[in-house]
């Protein structure tokens, strides 16, 4: 195993924007080793899906992670939810090590966290009634009967659905309504932290704003904390308070949304921002920063700064030294020698 140059990277100690730290992630790594026939007798380098990530999420904020496919953002979601075990590093929820929980503490953790996935077609069991789908997180906790039914009806109206929807099946709803059902399930057990994994990218354009507004309303009413994961920077910019930009399993920049937009420090963040097509034909000749090549294989990340082979301003040092994760100014972190 390649020794990480910077174990337990310095915590991005930001003055809490809304509250204390609810989720603390330190030096998180997840390496996937190939299994099965292909791996037999031949040791292949592991896929470094997440390779040393540290950040804090504060109570009541909406923290965004952006990155392109293969950047490792969804793996982080699964690790946070304890759907997979990290290779290295630590995730603390309310100061408790998530991956060391068991018994009642684990149960409490399951209740306190939930998730909304991208595609409501896949996240709603097609053969269950809405009542059972939405009620599942409570049913698992042993809630039954009228208490369960009442709570399900309550959250259905919270997300803007008719409580009668409980008796129907997912396929009877449109895409936007299905995503509302998924949100209802996420809040039914009164969680504190909800992971939103691409919550609107499978939806029609005209529905996106509805769901984003709903999520924001619920956050205010129920004092929720969100970890939003998305590839669409415009969505994350609108929805989130702070944004972390990921590239090839690592965070390259972390800043408050407005600041990241106005003053991105990392070349990759700059390119990502400029690559988003602006819905204004007058801006079509605006200079777009070129990004050549494609994201390298996470099984063999480049040495030094992972972005250097594609970086327009890379210098020799970038291919040798891994850049430090440093605080540019209060609350604005970046991993770049030249920023």
């Amino acid at each position: 195993m390649v020794a990480s140059t910077r174990r337990g990277d310095a915590p991005p100690a930001v003055a809490p924007r809304r509250g204390d730290v609810i989720l603390r992630i330190r030096g998180l790594k997840k390496h996937f080793q190939a299994h099965g026939i292909a791996a037999l007798g031949r040791r292949r380098p592991p896929i470094r899906a997440v390779d040393g990530v540290s950040f804090d999420i504060h109570r009541g904020e909406n923290f965004g992670l952006v990155g392109e496919s293969g950047s490792g953002k969804t793996t982080i979601a699964k690790l946070v939810l304890r759907l997979d075990t990290p290779t290295e590093g630590e995730i603390r929820f309310e100061d408790a090590d998530v991956h060391a929980l068991s018994g009642r503490a684990l149960n409490a953790f399951r209740k306190a966290t939930h998730v909304v996935f991208q595609d409501p077609n896949s996240s709603l069991s097609p053969r269950m009634r809405v009542r059972d789908i939405v009620g599942e997180p409570l049913a698992v906790q042993g809630v039954r009967g009228k208490a369960l039914a009442d709570r399900v009806a309550e959250v259905l109206s919270l997300v803007g659905l008719n409580p009668q929807a409980a008796e129907r099946y997912p396929h009877e709803f449109s895409g936007g309504q299905r995503q509302r059902i998924a949100v209802a399930r996420a809040i039914v057990a009164e969680p504190q932290l909800i992971v939103l994994d691409e919550p609107v990218s499978a939806l029609d354009v005209s529905i996106r704003a509805q769901i984003l507004n709903l999520l924001r309303d619920l956050q205010d009413r129920l004092h929720l904390t969100y970890l939003t994961i998305a590839h669409d920077l415009a969505v994350v910019y609108q929805a989130c308070d702070r944004i972390g930009v990921m590239y090839l399993g690592r965070l390259v920049e972390l800043a408050p949304s407005e600041e990241l937009y106005r003053d991105p420090a990392h070349p990759y963040a700059k390119i990502l921002l400029s690559a988003i097509p602006k819905p204004d034909p007058k801006l079509r000749h605006a200079e777009r920063l070129p990004l050549t090549g494609e994201i390298p294989s996470p099984a063999a990340p480049p040495p030094g700064c992972r972005f250097h082979p594609r970086c327009p301003i890379a210098v020799e040092r970038c291919s040798v030294d891994e850049p430090e994760w440093r605080e540019l100014r209060s609350g604005h972190w970046v991993a770049c020698h030249l920023a």
Partner: protein, 307 residues
Amino acid sequence: MRRYLLLRLLQSLLTILLVVMVVFLIARIAGDPVTLLVTFDASQSDINRLKQELGLADPLPQQFVRFLTDAARGDFGISFRTNRPAMQEVLSRVPASAQLAGFALLISLAISIPLGVLAAVTRGSLVDVIARFFALVGQAAPNFWVGLMLIFLFSVRFGWFPTGGRGGLDHMFLPALTLGTSASASLTRLTRSAMLDVINSDFVTMARAKGLPRRTVIFKHALRNALIPVVTILGVRVGVLISGSVIVETIFAWPGVGRLIIQAINVSDFPVVQAAITLTATSIVLANFLTDIVYMFIDPRIRYVRS
């Protein structure tokens, strides 16, 4: 690619080993072979001595190892019926069986693939309906019945073909047709549905958008992909086909391994049964291995990803 092949070969060998073990165990369930070898008035000490001689007094694992090493040399013992080495008995029947099975396979491929393709391409047409009807009927009709009906019609009634025995092509036609029917039915069905899947895929639309003639789209783009699942099943079908030859050879008095197995079972000639079943099962495993190789040539994803 070579590693994949090697691995599949190892798997096949393991399967053959397991087959031999199963054959061995079944033979032991059958009871004590010694009782078949001695006369009714043999004394217990005679029996014990014979057991000792044959190694039947040894513990089972030891017996199995011996059985295995003998089997590896092709030695399955002496046929009770003919007193010739059991393997020799079986081998003398192999050409007849191979001829029949090969011809049946040929017939079923010649029917099923063109029919399946045609049915898919003309979906909803009369040809399609006929193909689907054939697939349904062919899968539901038992071999032995089809065989007997063919004999009844074409041999007894019309006298066009001989009722049985081995000889020229005319002798082979009915049994091969019988044996090929169920295989061609299920292959037709599979080819049709695989073609339908592929025809609706994006890359076929792309091929058509390139302005390729229909023929090229169907045969070069669609069929090659549709053959992937067909070839996968082909390995299994070959097993079923060889297995089915037991019945067909019996009905048509075809002097092959299948008929030998039934004859040997009827007289409890276990060395021959063991030899024949081991040999047949081995050939089926090898046929599966061969289809894997064919598979690799059709599907580059196997060739590269696994290597």
